[in-house]
């Protein structure tokens, strides 16, 4: 058994180890490039503190962006879709059972007629 064999997908190949080696090489190159840069950052000085155009730094809890605020735009853009989809999950057991029975009936019709 060849552990290093690439994954044959019938259409292409995927060799994770080669990919990993390439990644490591890229990281080394990037690191070397980064090392050549000029180091102006000094620990323990004013540079460590966030600069907010002279305003006072807000308290820690207020800085953090909470989960609900992420992807607001995405949700707003797909509002029509979500307005249909979310109310379907009513939380009422009867609705869930009606879905179940209805899908079974639909499949009965499909399989009974088409095959």
């Amino acid at each position: 058994m060849d552990l290093t064999a690439p994954l044959l997908t019938g259409y292409g190949i995927w060799a994770p180890l080669v990919w990993l080696v390439a990644c490591v090489a890229a990281v080394i190159v990037v690191y070397l490039l980064w090392k050549t840069g000029e180091s102006s950052y000094k620990k323990g000085t004013e540079l460590e503190r966030p600069y907010l155009s002279g305003n006072v730094e807000p308290e820690k809890g207020a800085v953090h962006i909470r989960a609900s605020n992420l992807y607001w735009g995405f949700l707003q853009a797909l509002k029509g879709y979500y307005d249909v989809l979310v109310p379907v999950h009513t939380g009422v057991l009867t609705d869930y059972m009606i879905w179940f029975v209805a899908v079974t009936a639909l499949l009965l019709v499909i399989v009974g007629v088409l095959s």
């Binding site: 999950h89 009422v92 009867t94 009606i98």
Partner: protein, 114 residues
């Protein structure tokens, strides 16, 4: 016609069961609907194994007599046992829900949604 009577009963019971499950809002009644459906399945299984004029499938009466099929009866028994466990579990859920939510109306038990 008479031969098909058990199967007609199965269809009727299934229909009653499904209607009860889908239209009733009381949790206990839904459980009863499920029990009706279970009886429909059990009747279906038992009538599948019936052979006209057959005797009970007990080994002591073995010689040269037609027996009804024993396997569906074993299946039915197992399914009854599972049905008892189901009923007990749903009833205890209903008790806890009644204590915590103050209702067994399925329309009002919907704090998890979305």
């Amino acid at each position: 016609m008479l031969w098909n009577l058990p199967f007609i009963t199965v269809v009727v019971l299934t229909f009653i069961g499904i209607v009860t499950v889908l239209l009733k809002k009381n949790l206990i009644k839904i459980l009863l609907g499920i029990n009706i459906l279970e009886s429909a399945v059990n009747l279906f299984l038992v009538s599948l194994g019936y052979r006209e004029g057959g005797v009970a499938p007990i080994f002591t009466l073995a010689p040269s007599q037609l027996m009804v099929l024993p396997t569906p009866q074993a299946l039915t028994l197992t399914s009854i046992v599972i049905g008892v466990a189901t009923s007990a579990l749903v009833l205890s859920f209903a008790m806890v829900l009644y204590k915590k939510y103050g209702t067994v109306d399925i329309d009002k038990i919907r704090r998890l949604q979305g």
